[in-house]
Symmetry: C2
Subunit: 181 residues, 2 copies
């Protein structure tokens, strides 16, 4: 749960960061920029800001906007309704983002999980994405990511997005947006 003030502040920061990255959005899109605190109430550490351009039965495109060192916590996309899980490509547009997936763990990872949430971060193969670099995740792959010290803007190209079916390692996480009025 986050306050309306905090929500608006994060959305305004995300809009400015998109502009800094050279990405133009419409006033309608500005008004529906989404702030996801994942229910942990520590948005600057755990969560992200996003803008969904489209999400049809077959494909989806979003911009993800991360504050400096903000972390999208470990999750994966299971099969839904007989379809394989969501397939995602992350393409860094601005800043730097570190993506963690299964595989050889980084000997000295560039990121640490948010303090107090360490048990819920289990995959440590590190992929650094700078602007123009991208990485495709097969359905069902566990992943988490954290922005570098400037924050980051990341384009996501994927099959249909069904946030409510995502599975998170941290049982405290609640992906349903809740804002206190």
């Amino acid at each position: 749960m986050i306050s309306r003030t905090e929500y608006e502040r994060a959305a305004a920061w995300a809009a400015e960061t998109l502009a800094r990255a050279g990405i133009v959005i419409t006033p309608e899109e500005r008004a529906r920029l989404e702030v996801a605190d994942m229910g942990l109430g520590e948005l600057e550490k755990t969560g992200l800001q996003l803008l969904t351009y489209l999400n049809t039965e077959r494909c989806c495109a979003k911009e993800l906007i991360l504050m400096p060192r903000q972390t999208c916590p470990e999750h994966w996309h299971p099969p839904v309704g007989g379809e394989p899980g969501k397939e995602e490509t992350f393409r860094c547009r601005w800043g730097v983002v570190y993506l963690y997936v299964p595989g050889d763990p980084a000997p000295v990872p560039a990121c640490r999980p948010p303090e107090g949430s360490e048990p819920y971060y289990t995959v440590w193969h590190e992929v650094r994405l700078r602007p123009g670099e991208q990485y495709t995740l097969k359905p069902g792959t566990r992943h988490w990511f954290q922005a570098g010290p400037q924050g980051a803007v990341v384009s996501e190209f994927s099959t249909r997005s069904t946030d409510e079916s995502d599975l998170f390692e941290d049982p405290r996480i609640d992906r349903t947006p809740r804002v206190a009025d």
Copy 2:
């Protein structure tokens, strides 16, 4: 058929235009920027430049880079291998693009087809896309588009792309890239 020189010149222009639009690409991507003259040998009038970020079994993302008043000719995406045709969303990032689809014809269209190709342009409902504006085409929808006087950069988010199965109204068109050496 276009000459190697013309191909390289068009690719260089496309790379500069992406940079002007604030879109960062890698050296590997720069090297595989595609120039499609559609076999008509009049690239500045008919054709486009493109960069495919990814094209998996399930989704595809590209940047399309159009020269001033360059036209991507009328075509549509039929069903392939039992799957519905390609679903496409065009999002303008820079410049202006005019998209033509079935529906009420524009009384005074902003664009004219390339000279000599008029019979092959049959849909005249006009959608103007400025930066941040987008339009989604259902599978099988006939469409063509032309950039405004500055050129345009357009992101395409879609299901799998199979260029070789596209159908064009103009029987002279050949989507297979051919460069004279």
